[in-house]
Symmetry: C2
Subunit: 248 residues, 2 copies
DNA sequence: GAGTGGTCTAGACCACACA
DNA sequence: GTGTGGTCTAGACCACTCT
């Protein structure tokens, strides 16, 4: 294989070489688990400098196709099927309805985990601060969710200051300089509990959608838990996964 | 700032420089939207070659912190909060319950979109092949879902061959050489429809969780749609999002 | 010790953006 | 035109792995 493509198309040599190597891998000329020719050999084959060869290999590495190691060589990885990713810039994207709805606080309290209607991490004796609220469409009285927000007592101050649209985890991140490293989310159907049902205009026991979210900081501590109950037909959880190449 | 760190710790110079620059950005010494010093200036400041400076800048670029452009310079991007990604190697990970459950086919048919209980893409007159099935825990008769799978007629042959655990989209990918490029998923609460309720041991109108998935190939065509109804408490949809650095 | 990729230098020419 | 980053060469030394 030559580099005619380079001279014809004026594309960078390392890109052309990367594509040739990629095609070789796809075609099985370099099989899974085998080593690519060494950088020195590739330099000779393609008549380019080592830097150029290394740029080409870097491209393949970024695609997750090969793994280069000093002392060993550049190994062809298992045919990468890619992976499906859902990517969010802000966790707020998860509840895009936030911007179109407002919160009305119903109550605030301090309680022990055992008293909450749901399982909170840290054991039944652990104290949490909680606010109960409903979310309704802004400028209307259509209620889309009944919500509980639990936060660790040391962050509880933010709960006294929330207004219609603030996202509690963002307030905590900002004021206490922590970062949400992980979010766990669980969605399930539920017969609406009486307390929630009354607030959102459902019959007790009617179908409803429950969403439980745990916000976890970079030390692994769950610092906030939210629990929402949505009326059916006024809320759905939509997701799109896109196939993307890249390292696993 | 010197490169003492390099000589003390024996770490690559470009890494040390990258960290110094990153700290400078964090500290606001290079503000959002501003240009970094040119590569030539950085070479002089740190007393290294241009290659080394470029490796450092490449590191920052991979982190999504800066954007280098020929003719302009290297611009500091808006403080990158990272993004939260949910990553799946196989869409099958989405229904992890697949491996622990088996499917029992109830019926097969050919129908027009208008006859389906849900909205299928492509207009009401479009023909689809469908199978109706229930999923139950393997080796038990506990039913966890009532399911409909719709596929384009030209792929319908696979529906005649599905056994207890095959994933239809994987069969189609394999046999017809297509690739699932995107998956759209919608989850909502639903009063169980009578047909489904009867099959999974629910009262009609009881709370249930509905999951609608559209499988889309790389030409943008929806080639499969699945619709599932789950009893509450026998199914929940769990997700974990992890904060990851990187370009947006 | 021989060979690998990882790091680094000192040059060079180019395409591009902007004044 | 001047300066930017993008590409490329021809060297060099190193840490690492395997024998």
């Amino acid at each position: 294989m030559s580099l005619r493509a380079h001279f014809e198309t004026r594309r960078p040599r390392y890109q052309v070489i990367a594509e040739v190597l990629e095609a070789d891998i796809e075609a099985g000329r370099f099989g899974e688990g085998e080593l690519l020719p060494s950088e020195a050999q590739l330099c000779a084959s393609y008549g380019v400098s080592r830097h150029t060869v290394r740029e080409a290999i870097r491209t393949l590495s970024d695609l997750g196709l090969v793994d280069a190691r000093a002392g060993i060589g550049t190994r062809v990885l298992a045919r990468n099927p890619g992976s499906y990713v859902q990517r969010l810039k802000e966790i707020a994207d998860l509840h895009d309805y936030v911007s179109e709805t407002s919160r009305r606080v119903i109550s605030r309290s301090v309680l022990h985990a055992a008293e909450a209607g749901i399982a909170l991490p840290g054991g039944p004796g652990k104290a949490w601060r909680m606010v109960e609220a409903v979310r309704h469409v802004s400028g209307s009285d259509v209620v889309v969710a009944w919500t509980q927000v639990f936060v660790l007592p040391r962050y509880g101050a933010v709960l006294d200051r929330i207004t219609g649209n603030d996202l509690v985890y963002l307030l905590i991140e900002r004021e206490y300089g922590i970062r949400t490293a992980r979010l766990r989310q669980s969605i399930y159907a539920l017969a609406a509990p009486a307390t929630a049902a009354a607030q959102i205009g459902l019959e007790p026991g009617a179908p409803s959608l429950a969403v439980l979210r745990e916000y976890i900081d970079d030390k692994g501590e769950v610092f906030e838990v939210t629990f929402s109950i949505h009326p059916p037909d006024r809320y759905r959880y939509d997701t799109e996964f896109v196939l993307s190449p890249g390292k696993p």
